[in-house]
């Protein structure tokens, strides 16, 4: 047994910490909150250069993963520095596409059974990371022409960025959750397709197209799934918005999203995917892959949350040492000391649960979901306690938007509920 980080993992954490400390992440988060994604994207590039996004992607798709322990290390650091963006959703989408592709591989030649994926022909991972522009676009389905057999993502090969099918709202009906008439028609058409039209190839194609891009940082994606609620985080910044719909269940590449609904954490930009776009897969395989992706999402959220909690504690301890009232540092008052000590205890017991969940995920253990849920509850409650203590012990200063503490405070509240509420996770722990 070796239940601790090894030297390489520690060094990985230190490297990320150094890099993020230098990156002025509070400014990046504020820009992100204002809808300016440039600095955030630049930061994501640096994270992917450090290998972060490859961690959730298997080697077959140009990643190095899945490596849940390293992923936890990376996401803790991301949380500690309040890195904005759909980190969790990118990880979860990676798990989803991987699972679907594996399922498709397993049941190849058995169409209509498990991996009911739609459209497309021969999958191809086409491009190489070194030269993304040199290739033919390769994922199955043309959103404008669902029956087409020509592989196309609707992407302009000259401009890989144009794959983003997700900007702007539905012009006809911006607030709509049902989409406009065209979308609805297309949607109906998709739904009407019989199993005969369905092959597993589009799932593999989607994996082949997106996973290498995610691993190399060329694409950031987001995901909405029933377990995560109706919103896709940062859909306005992501290159692809994946949506799992309960009916089918169906995996869809959304054709766009509704206007951003401001979150309590402004750096979390919430939008509903429009219920239209390319259907990538449907059926039991989607259900299984989504369950796996949801576990990964909860796990990644727990890691990010722990990082958020750690920073809230660190910053508050530092403040309590330096802020004086009644002629003494407030950190010398027992009420203050005990509250911070309690937060420390809670966070230090969330940490082993998180790594325990990582081990379970790495082994593909049957009870991995319960382990993840336990970690999510512990990290979520500890970080929210940390946030409440931070707010309280900073006095009025903590209550201001201008003081950077707010970046972490607001995240702690939001992450606690994201990808599995405490009640849901607790039930999962007991379900085993």
């Amino acid at each position: 047994m070796w239940f601790d980080l090894d030297d390489a993992q520690r060094e990985f954490a230190r490297t990320l910490n150094r890099m993020l400390s230098a990156a002025d992440t509070p400014a990046v988060a504020r820009a992100w909150a204002a809808g300016e994604h440039g600095p955030g994207r630049a930061l994501w590039t640096r994270l992917s250069d450090a290998g972060v996004f490859a961690l959730a992607v298997p080697e077959a798709y140009e990643g190095v993963g899945p490596l849940p322990v390293e992923l936890a290390v990376a996401l803790i650091e991301a949380g500690r520095h309040a890195v904005p963006g759909p980190l969790v959703e990118t990880v979860a989408a990676s798990a989803l596409l991987t699972a679907l592709a594996e399922e498709a591989d397993a049941s190849a030649g058995d169409p209509g059974d498990n991996a009911q994926a739609l459209g497309g022909t021969t999958p191809s991972t086409g491009d190489t990371p070194r030269n993304p522009d040199s290739t033919t676009p390769s994922t199955g389905h043309n959103p404008r022409n669902p029956d087409s057999t020509t592989p196309s993502t609707g992407e302009n090969p000259q401009n890989p960025d144009s794959t983003a099918p997700s900007t702007g709202h539905n012009p006809q009906n911006p607030g709509s959750t049902t989409g406009n008439a065209d979308d609805a028609t297309k949607d109906a058409h998709d739904t009407a397709r019989g199993p005969d039209d369905i092959t597993e190839s589009s799932a593999r194609a989607a994996a082949g197209f997106w996973l290498p891009r995610i691993a190399s940082g060329r694409a950031s994606v987001t995901l909405a799934a029933p377990a995560g609620g109706p919103y896709a985080l940062d859909a306005d910044a992501a290159d692809a918005v994946f949506v799992v719909e309960a009916e089918g269940p169906t995996l869809r590449l959304a054709a766009g999203h509704s206007p951003v609904q401001p979150s309590f954490d402004p750096a979390r930009r919430l939008a509903r995917p429009v219920p239209a776009g390319t259907v990538l897969a449907r059926g039991r395989a989607v259900a299984a892959a989504t369950a796996r992706a949801t576990d990964w999402a909860a796990f990644a959220t727990a890691a990010q949350t722990l990082g958020v909690g750690l920073t809230l504690l660190d910053r508050t301890v530092a403040y309590a040492k330096q802020r004086a009232q009644f002629g003494r540092p407030i950190g010398s008052f027992q009420a203050v000391k005990h509250r911070l000590a309690d937060v420390h205890v809670a966070l230090e017991f969330a940490r082993p649960l998180l790594y325990g969940a990582a081990v379970a995920l790495a082994r593909g253990a049957r009870d991995a979901g319960a382990a993840v849920a336990a970690a999510k509850v512990a990290a979520g409650e500890a970080a929210y306690d940390a946030a409440r203590a931070a707010l309280q012990l900073h006095g009025a200063l903590g209550y201001t938007d201008e003081y950077p503490l707010s970046l972490w405070f607001r995240k702690a509240r939001a992450l606690r509920m994201a990808w599995g509420s405490p009640a849901h996770c607790r039930a999962r722990v007991l379900a085993g």
């Binding site: 407030i330 938007d401 509920m417 994201a418």
Partner: protein, 435 residues
């Protein structure tokens, strides 16, 4: 012991209820922490005042109805149950007004209170400073003597709604000093648009300019705007600080209404199998009821105290009359009776008047408010994350806005750490810790 309103109280409540039913705005007003919302709330104060509902417990000559504490409780209950807006004039009506009633001059009351009652002049509290938060006596802003008044210098901070308010009241170092930092403070009122005042809004967690910093550079305050004696500001301020923490700032009506909304939300949306959440909803409902009942007890004590004061006055008058008419023996009996009644109620009254009682309320309501809103957000699941600016925000964003507001409760009006110290020391008699 009973909880039934007297016929007079019931009539008062019925009148309030029907007026509110006819006048409460159907759509919630925009957040009062914004310029637009502040203006809307000010307009609402005028409507309340025009009908005598803005300051029901004040004497009639200043725009009130002379309502008893019980009537006030009933009014607040009706007010929040009707979904009426939060009170933008609260700093003035709940903090400055009690100070003026206790320490102001008749001239100050006549001049300041009526425009406060109708929202024409809205007040900000300028107590805190960057270095003087919990340790308010460490404040450094000064009032320097000048002919006919004082000149204010220095910085104040966290002044709620000062960006939109008209005038402020605050404590300044000035006047005859003593040995302790609490001595030599002067309590003044000043206009926020006076020469020498700079107001810099500060945004709270959700970005709204809920409070402000004030920079004061030679702001003139005439002598008539000093409350109490110069140099006695601390005593003046502390005698009324209880109002900020206690009942009058946060009436039970507010929480009983919120708890009712929470219970309705639970019935509408919750998964009955989620017993943990159910228990939190129930606990909030119970706590709101507890707060309400404790307030009923407080109101009873206050009514008793008022009655006993009135009885003493009557006894005194009778005594004087009897003395004049020469029936000395009966005068002695009256004096004895009055003295017994007074002793019997003294203990009660002392308890009711102990400012530390307000600390008990403060800790309770601030934590109840937070629990109510946290539970509501948890109940709303993924929608609980939405800010009140989101079109999708449930309940018109009221829970989200209420949550942000409730987060500050354990901090302002004296932090809960400080309140717990006060309770332990002044009510439980524990040793005063090193501070």
């Amino acid at each position: 012991m009973d909880l039934d309103p007297s016929p007079d109280e019931a009539a008062f409540r019925a009148e309030a209820r029907s007026w509110l039913a006819a006048h409460v705005p159907t759509a919630p007003l925009p957040s009062l922490e914004t310029a637009e919302g502040f203006a809307a709330h000010r307009a609402w104060e005028r409507i309340l005042a025009a009908n005598g509902w803005s300051v029901v417990s004040w004497p009639r000559r200043y725009g009130g109805r002379g309502a008893s504490t019980t009537e006030w409780l009933l009014f607040e209950q009706e007010y929040y149950a009707a979904g009426a807006p939060g009170r933008v004039s609260q700093n003035g009506t709940q903090l400055l007004a009690p100070t003026l009633f206790a320490h102001g001059t008749a001239e100050q009351r006549a001049r300041v209170l009526p425009p406060m009652a109708d929202g024409e002049v809205i007040w900000a509290q300028a107590w805190s400073e960057p270095e003087a938060g919990s340790d308010l006596a460490a404040l450094r802003a000064t009032a320097r003597r000048t002919s006919g008044g004082w000149l204010l210098y220095g910085q104040k901070t966290w002044s709620s709604r000062a960006a939109f308010a008209d005038r402020a009241f605050g404590l300044f170092r000035g006047g005859p000093a003593g040995e302790r930092p609490h001595q030599g403070l002067t309590y003044v009122m000043f206009p926020l648009d006076a020469p020498g005042v700079t107001v810099r809004p500060i945004r709270r967690l959700d970005g709204k300019p809920a409070f402000a910093e004030l920079f004061l550079d030679g702001v003139f305050v005439p002598d008539r705007d000093v409350i109490g004696e110069p140099g006695q500001g601390w005593r003046v301020a502390m005698s009324t600080a209880g109002s900020e923490r206690g009942l009058t700032l946060r009436s039970p009506g507010r929480f009983t209404a919120a708890a009712a909304r929470l219970a309705a939300l639970w019935r509408e949306r919750a998964d009955p199998a989620d017993t943990a959440l159910r228990d939190r909803v129930a606990d909030a409902v119970i706590a709101a009821r507890a707060y309400h009942l404790r307030a009923c007890a407080t109101a009873t004590r206050e009514t008793e105290a008022a009655a006993s004061r009135a009885a003493e006055t009557r006894a005194g008058e009778a005594r004087a009359a009897e003395t004049r008419s020469g029936t000395r023996a009966s005068a002695r009996a009256t004096v004895r009776r009055a003295a017994t009644a007074a002793t019997a109620r003294a203990a009660d009254r002392q308890r009711a008047d102990n400012p530390a009682e307000a600390s008990v309320n403060k800790v309770f309501w601030s934590e109840l408010d937070l629990a109510l809103h946290e539970t509501a957000l948890d109940l709303l699941g993924p929608y609980g994350e939405l800010s009140d600016a989101a079109a999708d925000a449930p309940g018109g964003g009221r829970w989200a806005e209420g949550y942000v507001f409730s987060l500050a409760g354990p901090v302002y009006a004296g932090t809960n750490e400080i309140q717990r110290d006060i309770i332990a020391e002044r009510l439980l008699g524990l040793d005063r810790g090193r501070r």
